[in-house]
């Protein structure tokens, strides 16, 4: 790269960083105060783009029309954020940690279908910014004038936010709540109003970030999920709740991407390396490196311990094995009375149930939330496929060896992850999952790249769908029973001790990190088993088994069923898989319906389905007594 190219790519990176910074700053602000992992933040960004597009069409392509459209769109998105907060989230602040994630996930589904309904399926290419449509020549190369404006907007917004946070009473409250929100509440500050206002500001930033992109990016329906991952990464790399950190992280990631593209393909020691392809994963690589070196991000501080964010986690009740036996007998009986498809759907459900139970083990009782649990599911599936297809192992052997491979990855990933805590830990698991995904996605000669691996069918004696269902039931049922049993072993109790009070647990001599690491390996292996069984039931696997979508599905299942119960994840997996099957078949706008159903469950059962039912039964018994 020549000097001029370096400068231009630097400017490109800074321009890209600007918009990312706005979105991430909003996310960081909202998380800092409310502790909500707001999945819908990307949807707000998308609404910003669509809103700006429509407003510009309405107000005319003049400078006044353009800029008022951008401002109005941002404010409108702010109001949408307020609506989400007041109608949905406010009702579930006392629900178990992360439950709000489920609600915001439902909001994502609903907004996506609303956008499809209102704006249609075709990409909407917005106008260039009136008066700024030309390019500016720098060192003999041309760069859009609008990009230079964007580069300036980033620091301006940072400055305004800084003034707001340090010079106003509202800012003082926000900072106080970020540090210790219970204390702020105890001092008589109206939390509801504070939260709503923070949501407004955060959403305006997302909307502004989106609206400002309209000359650079067509409004389309994939923006929500594509921006949310980046925004989370930047927030975490910068340090949660740190606006300056988000700014720094956005610049690092924006510039790193631009340089990966600028460098292109290079040959080092006869090895051809395509930096351009690295853009697939570079932000996650940076995040992994930063988190390993700095467990609280670049400018973040350790999270304050929450005292009474929710009621204390109730103790788990040991599974009733006789009840489980009845269920197993029922499940064994299904193929005798139901049609073939029920068996197939149940095979899916059984795989996902083990996947969800293994995720629940680590995020519930062990207290380590994983956003990248699909890594083990997918690596198990790939290991099964590759051992069978490429290594020529018999199907039965591949099925059983594959989980060990997934476990081996968990040994490595877990070692790094247990050194962190909270959302940082969760995001590091996501980083590892994404790195695994990108390797699988790129390594064509071994993994089949984006196409995946085909022709991985079970042996002849298992080929019948009913027989395979019994195999899946046996494998996954055993896995689930084993995990439940472990929870009530000394090992399980030690993990819960570590979750509830790490200090005390270590004081009485529990090697907490060692235990948590072991837990990681255990759930990784069993998630791998779920993936391996899944792979042979489908006959093919593709990178989507390791994707963020798969990880999210796992979280949704656990939260839907209830993270504080033992059987919740199984029920969640069953309901979610079944719902998706039924809803997708009967309605065109199935995503919105699905989102609506989840929202309803969220509002009616803030402890998840099983948790909510248990509470109902408990209340009824109390009244009887």
């Amino acid at each position: 790269m020549s000097f001029a190219s370096i400068i231009i790519q630097l400017l490109n990176g800074l321009a890209a960083a600007s918009s990312l910074f706005l979105v991430s700053a909003g996310l960081s602000l909202i998380f800092g105060v409310t502790r909500i992992v707001n999945f819908a933040h990307g949807s707000l960004y998308m609404l910003g783009l669509y809103g700006a597009y429509s407003l510009i069409e309405a107000l005319g392509r003049t400078p006044l029309g353009f800029w008022s459209a951008v401002v109005v769109a941002a404010l409108a998105v702010g109001l949408a954020g307020v609506l989400i907060e007041m109608l949905v989230l406010r009702r579930i602040y006392r629900a178990p940690e992360l439950f709000q994630l489920l609600a915001t996930f439902a909001v994502v589904l609903v907004i996506k279908d609303i956008a499809l309904f209102v704006w249609g399926a075709e990409d909407l290419v917005g106008p260039r910014a009136p008066g700024l449509s030309m390019a500016v020549e720098i060192l003999g190369k041309r760069i859009p004038a609008y990009d230079l404006l964007l580069i300036a907007i980033g620091p301006v917004v940072l400055g305004v936010l800084w003034l707001l946070l340090t010079r106003t009473r509202w800012g003082a409250l926000v900072r106080a709540a970020t540090q210790d929100r219970e204390m702020v509440g105890a001092l008589g500050v109206d939390q509801a109003k504070l939260f709503t206002s923070v949501f407004f500001v955060g959403s305006v930033l997302a909307g502004l970030g989106g609206a400002l992109q309209i000359p650079r990016e067509p409004a389309n329906l994939d923006l929500d999920l594509s921006v949310i991952a980046d925004a989370f990464v930047i927030t975490v790399v910068g340090g949660l709740g740190s606006i300056g950190g988000a700014f720094l992280a956005a610049i690092i990631i924006g510039v790193a991407k631009a340089f990966c593209i600028g460098i292109g393909t290079v040959t080092w020691f006869g090895l051809e390396i395509s930096f351009s392809k690295l853009t697939l994963v570079v932000e996650f690589l940076i995040m992994a490196l930063v988190l390993v070196a700095r467990p609280y991000g670049l400018l973040g501080k350790p999270q304050a311990v929450q005292r009474v964010a929710a009621d204390p986690v109730p103790p788990l009740t040991a599974p009733s094995w006789s009840m489980a036996l009845v269920w197993v007998m029922l499940l064994v009986g299904v193929p005798l009375v139901a049609d073939r498809y029920v068996t197939i759907l149940l095979t899916d459900i059984v795989c996902f149930a083990l996947f969800a139970v293994s995720l629940h083990f680590i995020m519930g009782p062990a207290g380590m939330v994983s956003f990248g649990h699909a890594a083990y599911f997918g690596l198990g599936a790939y290991a099964a496929g590759l051992l069978f297809k490429r290594a020529g192992l018999p199907m039965e052997a591949a099925l059983l060896v594959a989980p060990l491979c997934a476990g081996a990855f968990a040994v490595v990933y877990g070692w790094f992850c247990v050194r962190l805590s909270g959302v940082y830990l969760a995001m590091l698991t996501l980083a590892f999952a994404q790195i695994s995904w990108s390797i699988v996605f790129q390594w064509d000669s071994v993994t089949g790249g984006s196409n995946g691996v085909f022709g991985i069918w079970p042996s002849a004696w298992l080929a019948d769908k009913t027989t395979y269902y019994y195999l899946a039931l046996a494998c996954c049922g055993t896995g689930i029973a084993f995990l439940w049993r472990v929870l009530f072993s000394p090992f399980g109790f030690a993990l819960r001790a570590g979750r509830d009070s790490p200090l005390r647990a270590e004081a009485i001599g529990i090697d907490l990190r060692g235990f948590q690491w072991a837990a990681f390996v255990l759930v990784g292996t069993l998630a791998g088993l779920a993936g391996s069984v899944y792979a042979f039931s489908k006959g093919s696997i593709s990178p989507s088994t390791i994707s963020i979508g798969q990880s999210t599905d796992g979280l949704i299942m656990v939260l839907l069923g209830g993270v504080e119960t033992l059987t919740g994840p199984v029920v969640g997996a069953a309901i979610y898989t079944w719902l998706r099957d039924v809803v997708a078949r009967h309605t065109e706008f199935w995503r919105a319906v699905m989102g609506g159903v989840i929202l309803l469950i969220v509002l009616l059962f803030p402890q998840g389905l099983v948790g909510g039912l248990k509470a109902l039964v408990f209340r009824w018994q109390e009244r009887q007594a």
Partner: protein, 401 residues
């Protein structure tokens, strides 16, 4: 507590479930269709309309084998795992006779493999991947759409004629972009051995950093560019490239960019002079296309996109296969589909016995701008059979089974 009532209720529900799907005698022939409707709505909404039109026409003409036909559609979520599940549902619960549809390569390939396992006919509608009929081809899978290789090969004569030395390449980083690039490099090198590929950019699908990519391409000072971008990536690339002067004095070839799905959103910014494959729907005057166009516009009050043609022709292929087979027996259907000839809006096509690829062609031309809209000018139709490799090459790639 689990009571006897619970058990009874559960059993009753299971029995009720098992009663679904028993079909009567004179019920319509069901064709199972699956696609990623919510993941690629811009292409698949018109596609669905094409299907509806075809079903209406077929049934108005008396259906097939004396029965009406019905296309049962499912959303596969763009995910091979889900696709295999809904495919199974279509066959075992809906009683579909065979399968059609799919869009992304990985889903198409997974369903193709599933069809082989289940021994049912599968007509892949849209997946462009060459592997579905070649490297991973199987006896049960047929593919309608003009493949990546074919569309690339159609652009080669123009590319070779220009005799440009320095080529830059940009493609979305997944199967379609990768194989388009590989095919282009191989075919151009054959025609023009001294060609040089000076830079290659592979942005992630849907996430192109267009400014940086345009700059990186410009830095390599290419004489020509080969791109396989589409959708939002294409729109961003066009705008950044134009603002930065990337396309000045540079010839650009872009697969698919002439398809209304991707050309129309660009409006007045459609890049003039680009060589593209696509669908100039308003200018095709063949009787078979005019008939299709009129029927489509009468029914939907909208113009057809390429997806509409694909949906329409897929259903027509399925129906013709049924008619030719004279039964719904899989072996007979496969035998009928192999070498099946039928009329589509793009003219006669044949599903080649050698690899089950249809000879559906595509329109090749250059982009022009008129009345603030992009259109295809100087276009010509290239028959698919003229854009395929030799039989010997095909046999070498396709596994024997």
């Amino acid at each position: 507590m689990l009571t006897r009532n619970h058990l009874l209720a559960g059993t009753a529900a299971l029995v009720a479930l098992s009663l679904f799907g028993t079909a009567g005698a004179q019920t319509p022939i069901k064709i199972g269709e699956l696609n990623s409707y919510k993941v690629f709505p811009a292409f698949l909404e018109p596609y669905k309309k094409g299907i509806e039109l075809a079903v209406e026409e077929v049934n108005a003409a008396g259906g097939a084998l004396g029965r009406k036909i019905e296309v049962v559609s499912r959303d596969d979520n763009g995910n091979p795992g889900d696709a295999v599940r809904v495919a199974e549902e279509l066959l075992s619960r809906e009683g579909a006779s065979f399968l059609i549809g799919t869009f992304p390569s990985n889903v198409g390939l997974a369903v193709a493999d599933f069809a082989k396992q289940r021994k049912v006919l599968f007509i892949a509608a849209e997946p462009l991947t060459d592997k579905i009929v070649w490297d991973s081809g199987n006896a049960y899978t047929f593919r309608l759409r003009t493949s990546t290789y074919m569309q690339t090969a159609m652009l080669i004569p123009d590319a070779a004629k220009l005799n440009k030395k320095r080529w830059a390449i940009v493609y979305p980083n997944y199967e379609y972009g990768q194989s388009a690039t590989a095919a282009f490099k191989k075919l151009l090198k054959e025609k023009q051995p001294d060609v040089e590929f000076v830079v290659e950019q592979a942005p992630p699908l849907g996430k192109i950093d267009a400014g940086a990519v345009a700059q990186a391409l410009a830095d390599a000072k290419p004489d020509a560019i080969f791109s396989s971008l589409f959708g939002a990536d294409l729109a961003k690339f066009v705008r950044e490239g134009q603002t930065r002067g990337l396309f000045k004095g540079v010839e650009v070839f872009n697969l698919l960019a002439g398809e209304p799905e991707y050309l129309d959103p660009l409006k007045e910014e459609a890049p003039e002079g680009w060589y593209v494959t696509g669908y100039p729907w308003s200018e095709i005057k063949t009787p078979e296309h005019t008939k299709f166009l009129n029927a489509y516009q009468a029914k939907f009050k909208d113009y057809p996109r390429l997806g509409s043609v694909v949906g329409y022709a897929t259903v027509m292929s399925a129906v013709e296969a049924i008619k030719k087979a004279g039964s719904l027996d899989q072996d007979k259907l496969i035998a009928a589909a192999s070498g099946l000839k039928l009329m589509t809006p793009f003219g006669m096509v044949e599903y080649r016995p050698i690899d089950h690829q249809s000879t559906m062609g595509a329109y090749v031309g250059r982009i022009g701008v008129k009345d603030g809209k992009g259109y295809m000018k100087d276009w010509r139709f290239v028959d698919g059979k003229d854009a395929l490799p030799s039989d010997a090459e095909v046999l070498k790639m396709r596994p024997k089974n």
